[in-house]
């Protein structure tokens, strides 16, 4: 059985205003167990408590009641912070630093030796396709570039646990797919990833398990496939189904007591269509150049 990496026990957070006049229960007895090597998605509308849960797990805020453990320890311990990475929902980078300086600074906080740090920075900038812009100050970066640099700083220490808050926000579909591939690669390397996103398609594509929060309470938790499967309803994909065959197929099924609910043409997702078009455009340009 895989080791539990992140766990919360009756985790509760109440925000109290000055003089304790008003209280807001942002998190209500949350119990979670995230296992080693899985990508876990935290879903919920605004104000559902997912950011609060993530902040407690990162040691940014303290719980009112209950307990949160990361790698078996309090998330406020420096030893835990040595093994985690965090990408906040916006990049929150120092605008006066260049990409090189930014990664160098965060690398120094992990006491990575200079030569190894330099090699790691080169790799990360290459991975995030920022090598050409490494000497430019962050203030000149587009939102997507800053986001990618933010992602790079989150994994500079080769962390065991990675917290990603809206990792694909601000990215174009190509970069979005690229980042999702990176997330899946990180999973292959055995990393545990806790991901929070509003983009449900992203979560569906990459997550092994998800938890849905609402009003600070856990509403649903489980593997994505299991939660999305509708019992008793199956999908059959056929090729070469003409309108005549369609009728025959319906009759045959109804004779067996199976209701055909819907027959429609298979479509691409918009993301697939976009990527295909861009790829075709790029091939055309290459051919013309040659």
């Amino acid at each position: 059985m895989e080791k539990t990496v992140i766990e919360t026990h009756n985790l509760t957070k109440v925000y109290t205003s000055w003089f304790s006049r008003t209280k807001v229960k942002a998190l209500d007895n949350l119990n979670l167990e995230i296992r080693s090597g899985e990508i876990f998605g935290l879903l919920g509308p605004n104000g559902s408590g997912k950011t609060t849960a993530m902040k407690i797990l990162l040691g940014l805020i303290f719980p009112t009641a209950g307990e949160a453990l990361v790698l078996g320890k309090s998330p406020r311990e420096v030893a835990v912070k040595d093994r985690i990475g965090f990408l906040p929902e916006e990049s929150y980078l120092y605008r006066f630093l260049t990409a090189d300086e930014t990664l160098d600074f965060y690398g120094q906080l992990f006491k990575i030796p200079r030569l190894r740090r330099k090699k790691k920075i080169d790799e990360l900038l290459e991975l995030m396709e920022l090598t050409g812009a490494r000497k430019r100050p962050v203030k000149e970066y587009s939102k997507g570039m800053a986001r990618r640099l933010g992602f790079a700083q989150a994994i500079i220490n080769d962390p065991d646990v990675i917290f990603l808050d809206e990792p694909t926000s601000g990215l174009d579909p190509i970069m979005c797919r690229h980042v999702k591939n990176i997330i899946l690669d990180l999973k292959k390397q055995g990393k545990t990833i806790l991901l929070s996103s509003h983009l449900l398609a992203d979560v569906e594509n990459v997550c092994d398990r998800i938890a849905i929060l609402y009003n600070g309470k856990l509403q649903k938790i489980g593997p994505v496939d299991e939660l999305l499967t509708q019992p008793g309803i199956s999908e059959v994909t056929l090729k070469g189904l003409t309108p005549e065959l369609q009728d025959k197929f319906k009759n045959l099924m109804s004779a067996e007591g199976v209701e055909v609910m819907n027959i429609h043409s298979v479509t691409d997702t918009l993301e697939d269509l976009f990527l295909k078009t861009i790829k075709e455009g790029s091939n055309e340009t290459d051919t013309r150049r040659n």
Binding site: K55, I61, V78, K81, F86, Q108, F163
Partner: protein, 460 residues
């Protein structure tokens, strides 16, 4: 340590890449360089003016850098949520605080010492182009430009005695050091009253066999009884206590115009003792004398102006460090505008502490007077207020508040080396001990407050 160094490096880059730093740097250079073109009555005053503007300018702009950069750095990190990333990295809170503080100290130190070097070159250049001129208060008629910036070490007397032979209360004795409150007044028709300063162990400071001349500086509050006469003629007797050899000179003393008297070292005895006595030469004058009004001055070496200047800069840096440590700690729990306001408030209070202390002492005297009036009042009559003062209860409350404020707020007088520098006397190294101690105590308390605040802070 590596993490602290990383934060120091980050803070340094943050500061020097900010526009406000460059603007302050520009204004500092513009202000100091323009001071040479201000109108002056005496060419020697031009050198002094440039020197004064350089010291005050560096001190002021260093403080501005400290407050405007350090006061907003951490609140800005918190406000812009950059702190989210910092806090999730293995960076202990004390390392973050120390890194920020040391980073800003590095920036202000760089500013102070680079400005000091520029100023020194500029002052020497202005001095080079300044012609020789008469100097007020000097007995030598013409001062050479080289003499303008010649710092001298100041030696005060061991003992100060005020002698009134015709009075029953004929002697007022006191050690010079720490008795600045003692004042001797010479007035009226009796010219027999006199004040004596007794110097000891001067052989420690002077190589008496090799020097041919000694110098003393006398600052007196002197006025004539006639409204048009703003001076008093004084007889100054310099004597050897063992051999009783002496010399007497009559000189004209004016308030705020120091008398520089040169004399032979033969009046210092084998034990390094020397007596200096002052009497009025005419009855129609008034002299107010304090123990620290007279001092011997020791000429310093050739390059001591630079060393003296750098010592003052070091004291300015220590003062800036005190403001920095308070500002950086304050930034852990205050928003940027409140923190900047608090730092400015502390800076002004710290600079004006002498004024507050004087007010407190005046208040105490008025309260004492009111209390005595209360005791000796006729039956049935209540005296709680004089015509021109506030009621006693209000005074007591004000005094209570002022008392607490004076105990909490730092006093920048401990870092004041400017006075010595501008008076052309050597900045004593003994100033650094109390200054460092003061900085250590305030710094430690402020850092502990900042650290606890960061430890208990939640980042929403």
């Amino acid at each position: 340590m590596k993490r602290i160094l990383a934060v120091i490096n980050l803070t340094y880059k943050e500061s020097v890449r900010k526009r406000i730093f460059l603007i302050i740097l520009f204004f500092a250079i513009a202000l100091i360089s323009s001071s040479a073109f201000f109108p002056v009555v005496d060419p020697a005053a031009r050198v002094k003016l440039v020197e004064t503007w350089a010291i005050r300018g560096i001190s002021f702009f260093a403080m501005l850098i400290a407050i405007l950069l350090a006061g907003v750095s951490l609140p800005d990190d918190i406000e812009s949520k950059r702190i989210f990333i910092l806090v999730t990295k293995p960076l202990p809170k004390e390392s973050l605080l120390l890194g920020k503080l040391l980073g800003f100290i590095a920036v202000t130190a760089l500013f102070i010492f680079s400005m000091a070097l520029i100023s020194l070159v500029y002052i020497r250049t202005v001095q080079f182009f300044t012609p020789a001129s008469p100097r007020l208060g000097r007995d030598s008629a013409v001062a050479s430009p080289q003499e303008y910036l010649n710092p001298r070490k100041k030696i005060t007397a061991r003992e100060f005695i005020f002698v009134q032979p015709d009075s029953t209360n004929d002697r007022m004795l006191g050690m010079v050091s720490g008795n600045e409150e003692i004042t001797a007044e010479l007035q009226g028709h009796n010219l027999n009253n006199f004040a004596v300063w007794k110097f000891q162990r001067l052989d420690k400071y002077f190589d008496l066999k090799s020097i041919s001349e000694m110098e003393m500086e006398l600052n007196l509050e002197a006025i004539g009884t006639d409204a048009l006469k703003h001076y008093s003629d004084v007889a100054i007797t310099i004597s050897n206590p063992t051999t009783s050899t002496s010399t007497t000179r009559v000189l004209r003393a004016k308030t705020k115009q120091p008398l520089i008297i040169k004399f032979s070292p033969i009046y210092v005895d084998d034990f390094g003792q020397l007596n200096v006595e002052i009497k009025r030469a005419q009855p129609d004058s008034y002299l107010r004398i304090k123990p620290d009004n007279l001092s011997l001055t020791l000429p310093a070496g050739t390059f001591t102006f630079e060393w003296n200047f750098m010592k003052t800069m070091l004291l300015i840096l220590l003062q800036t460090m005190l403001v920095l440590v308070i500002t950086v700690s304050g930034s852990s729990f205050l928003s940027a505008p409140v923190n900047v306001f608090m730092a400015i408030f502390i800076y002004f209070c710290g600079s004006g502490m002498a004024f507050f202390k004087e007010n407190l002492s005046l208040m105490e005297k008025s309260m004492e007077f009111l209390r005595r009036a209360e005791i000796s009042r006729p039956a049935g009559q209540i005296i709680t207020q004089m015509n021109d003062t506030m009621p006693l209860w209000m005074m007591e409350t004000s005094k209570f508040i002022l008392d607490i404020a004076l105990k909490i707020l730092p006093d920048f007088a401990v870092f004041d080396g400017m006075d010595y520098l501008l008076k052309e006397t050597a900045v004593p190294l003994s100033l650094f001990g109390p200054a460092l101690f003061y900085l250590a105590i305030y710094g430690l308390v402020a850092l502990i407050i900042g650290w606890i605040s960061l430890l208990t802070k939640q980042f929403n």
